[in-house]
């Protein structure tokens, strides 16, 4: 039964601020400064608390997926389907991003090296920056975010329309059915896309090297490849694996925790963009810190 809409307290002052202290009418005006500071501290505390809860929720979902996912049936069809959705359909944007990153970096380095008469070292210089850092990170921030937002929008819509509840109600496990295939697919697709992106970025560098700086493409290729060691490829692919996994879990978690309403789906998707970008950069720093001493 709905409550009467009138003022339940019978407050004759009808204080529109809803001041629980009842000090609205006739009270002395108070200084804004203490309350503003208090509010700021509360906001900071609330934000930190929400951040910790978010990270905890993410970790719990990852743990649940890691425990329940590998059980039979493995859901190979769902994983393959997601690889097509997340990976194959991202090849055009991956190709374009990588080509332009390779070209731009070669051009920038080429200009600087030409001043020192060292443009023949263009292949050496660009290879490390592209393979170890730029291709995996840029692809994670663009393609990874695209994957994650797609997951958030899809799962968020399913949450809003109670489809996730329906999966549970039919006795199936939504983590196993929805999160596991996406997590695995993103973790497989991203390294493959980064491998392809490394090749395309190198081709972009070759193009600029040959046409702008008159460094033969073959020479650029040999210097490029000579500089790279197996560890650099491992570093590149490890980063891609971690970034793919982060995109997958963040996208799914945001979708699962979408509040009700279509506006909430939009909000969750926007938050996913920021969350994936920040998480990727943090993870990038951590992985670079880990790999640099080894390299």
């Amino acid at each position: 039964m709905t409550q009467p809409t009138g003022d339940p307290t019978g407050d004759p002052t009808g204080d529109p601020t809803g001041d629980p202290t009842g000090s609205g009418a006739g009270a002395e005006p108070k200084s804004d400064e203490p309350s503003a500071l208090r509010e700021w501290v509360i906001n900071v505390g609330t934000t930190i608390n929400a951040g910790i809860k978010w990270c905890g929720g993410l970790a719990v979902m990852f743990g649940q997926a890691a425990i329940r996912g590998p059980r039979r049936p493995f859901g190979l069809f769902d994983i393959s389907y997601q690889i097509v959705q997340l990976g194959i359909r991202s090849i055009p944007v991956t190709t374009m991003m990588s080509l332009f990153v390779g070209m731009i970096l070669a051009w920038q380095f080429g200009e600087a090296l030409a001043d020192f008469g060292a443009k023949n070292s263009l292949g050496y210089v660009t290879s490390l920056a592209l393979v170890r850092e730029l291709v995996p990170t840029l692809l994670a921030v663009t393609v990874g975010t695209k994957m994650a937002t797609g997951m958030t929008a899809e799962l968020g819509s399913m949450k809003v329309t109670e489809q996730i509840d329906a999966i549970s109600a039919l006795g199936a496990d939504p983590i196993k059915k929805l999160v596991w295939p996406r997590l695995v697919a993103a973790s497989i697709a991203m390294p493959l896309l980064v491998a392809w992106g490394n090749v395309v970025a190198m081709l972009g560098g070759m193009l600029i090297s040959d046409t702008v700086f008159d460094v033969p493409a073959g020479y650029f290729y040999h210097t490029y490849i000579d500089e790279l060691e197996p560890l650099h490829y491992i570093m590149s692919e490890t980063k891609a694996l971690v970034f793919g996994g982060l995109a997958g879990i963040v996208g799914c978690y945001q979708g699962f925790t979408t509040k009700f309403g279509t506006e909430a789906v939009g909000l969750a998707t926007t938050e996913t963009v920021i969350a994936v970008s920040v998480m990727v950069l943090l993870a990038d720093f951590a992985l670079t810190t880990f790999f640099m001493p080894i390299g």
Partner: protein, 300 residues
């Protein structure tokens, strides 16, 4: 206890033997109930006769943050009856259904199915529970990416080792029960949910929930958003399924016409509890202003 007054289960109870015969016939003809292992009135060696409580809420507390939904709430659902839950919007009627099926957990008290606390069930027990207690969601909650046949056969595909042909046959049977059989709608099995009307989606959702031949069906506002003829169709379907499959039904609705038609008993949610639970004639005669205001749509 709020629903302490026993009232005879109208309708189905009076034709108990006929219903059971019908159920038996259905079981034998389809084999689905046998395949799933659901047996009405029996669960883990426990038995429940028609008219005895199959689901019990004992002093249940539930809140979402500061928003308290239930405080010491008690309710009993009897085997074979149709219990309709009415109450204002946002008061927690749907929460009640989700507590029954373990989608939400109570902070205090117990929600028991055959005396077993749903809140303490592990994943496997919950899976088993959800094979016996199925839910029809407010908007249907059909899976957009699947055909109607795959939607209806989803639980069978997940939990049985039935082949595709057999599952499709069960799906067709279930769709026929809700008036959307392939004989009348030849292309329905391969259609996607998006092409169906709202009323048809609700009926497909109903077909999906009965495909596993559950013991209990929970209906979350089954007639909301439908025109009067579709409301009537859904209401008749709820009655028909109770009659033909012998299921216990719990219906959450605002629609009093539907409530009077489908119910054996009616429960009014008020002030975080169910203070009024009675069979339809008794409930309609209650003189309390809370009940009168609600059923007559008064805003005083």
């Amino acid at each position: 206890m709020n629903d302490a007054k026993p009232s005879p289960v109208a309708g189905p109870a009076s034709t108990q033997s006929g219903v059971l015969a019908g159920v038996s016939a259905m079981s034998n003809s389809s084999g689905v109930r046998r395949a799933i292992g659901t047996t009405i009135g029996q669960y883990h060696g426990r038995t429940c006769a028609r008219g005895e409580p199959v689901i019990e809420f004992n002093a249940v507390d539930k809140a979402f943050g500061p928003n308290v939904i239930y405080r010491g709430m008690n309710l009993k659902v009897r085997l074979g009856e149709t219990l309709t839950i009415i109450g204002g919007s946002g008061q927690g009627k749907s929460v009640c259904l989700k507590l029954m099926i373990g989608l939400l957990h109570a902070e205090g008290g117990q929600v028991c199915y055959y005396g077993e606390d749903v809140g303490r069930m592990n994943a496997e027990q919950l899976r088993e529970l959800r094979m016996r207690v199925s839910m029809v969601f407010q908007g249907g909650a059909l899976f957009d990416s699947m055909t109607i046949a795959r939607n209806v056969g989803y639980a069978l595909r997940e939990h049985t080792d039935m082949g595709d042909a057999e599952i499709n046959q069960r799906a067709a049977e279930s769709l026929t029960l809700v008036g959307l059989g392939p004989d009348e709608y030849p292309e329905i099995m391969e259609q996607m949910p998006a092409v169906l009307s709202v009323g048809q989606r609700k009926r497909v959702a109903l077909a999906r929930s009965i495909a596993v031949r559950p013991e209990v069906i929970l209906y979350d506002e089954p007639t909301t958003g439908l025109d009067p003829s579709n409301c009537n169709r859904i209401a008749r379907m709820i009655r028909k399924l109770q009659r033909e499959l012998g299921v216990t039904s719990i219906v959450v609705t605002h629609d009093m016409t539907t409530a009077w038609y489908v119910s054996d008993r009616v429960a009014l949610l008020h002030n975080k509890q169910f203070p009024f639970v009675d069979d339809v004639p008794t409930f309609r005669a209650i003189d309390d202003p809370i009940v009168r205001d609600f059923i007559e749509g008064r805003t005083s």
